[in-house]
Symmetry: C2
Subunit: 138 residues, 2 copies
DNA sequence: TCTTGACCTTCCCACGATGGGAAGGCCCAT
DNA sequence: ATGGGCCTTCCCATCGTGGGAAGGTCAAGA
């Protein structure tokens, strides 16, 4: 029932966030300063671990640290409007979709070039031709 | 007919690669050291501009500098097998597809959560609920 | 009690690719 | 000759992450 008060290494193992990153999150203010033992060791409560898991999950979903800071503030604000959270999430989805579109365009261009490249021992290669003169040729 | 011998600023405007990046490419060895005037200014020939456009196009296609170094070497090797180029390109496509898949998974998860979030003035929010306890709840 | 090994601390450095900016030199046109 | 626009090098920042050194701490076993 009492807070477990684990060290940074145990917190890392319990949350999947590296000790390095836990310190970094503290240093940059994403998370508040951790409690310390008399000898200076950082100590984490169950609530701290909860926050670390929150951050980890948000990173897994591709949120930036800036966005995570916003989400954490909303999480701690019990009277937040769900609309505010949804807005952050949908902004992020739009960003993801934009990046997906860029990567898709690259992949399609390259696949198109690769299709036309016979890929044998001969030196002729439409891929290099495109890179070397792309703008002029098409 | 003669090589135009332009300055770095003109080379930048002619190729769309910033002067900063041209110097960086030289510093890291992606491109050979540029010719210099007596006073130390870098000087670029038409062949140099061609290489810069090659790099720019490859960057536009998302190739890393490491991959571009490989592609430049293949470009300069007139007896290369097109298969080698195709292999680099298809490796890169696979990498792009993998990254697209990751972003897609994030976007879909978030869209799924956002759908279930009514997004009004009330504080209840499945998005935050997922972040706060994701692993346990689903 | 002493040692040993695992842990913690802070501090610095690196990545990849890009941009910002300062301090100082160069070149050309007026 | 002077001014403005260009060039040079050098350092710093980004973002999120990892590596590693130097030194302190803690618990377990001899």
């Amino acid at each position: 029932m009492s807070a477990p008060s684990v060290t940074i290494g145990e917190a890392s193992r319990a949350t999947g966030v590296s000790a390095k990153m836990i310190r970094y999150y503290e240093e940059t203010g994403l998370l508040g300063p951790a409690e310390r033992t008399a000898s200076g060791y950082r100590v984490y409560s169950e609530g701290d671990l909860h926050a670390l898991r929150f951050v980890r999950r948000a990173r897994d979903l591709g949120f930036s640290m800036r966005e995570i800071a916003d989400l954490l503030a909303l999480w701690h604000d019990r009277s937040r409007a769900s609309a505010a959270v949804k807005a952050v999430a949908l902004d992020h989805v739009a960003d993801l979709r934009r990046r997906i579109g860029e990567l898709e365009a690259m992949a399609r261009s390259l696949e198109h070039l690769a299709e036309r490249c016979c890929g044998d021992d001969r030196p002729d290669c439409p891929i290099l031709d495109d890179l070397a003169g792309g703008a002029e040729i098409r």
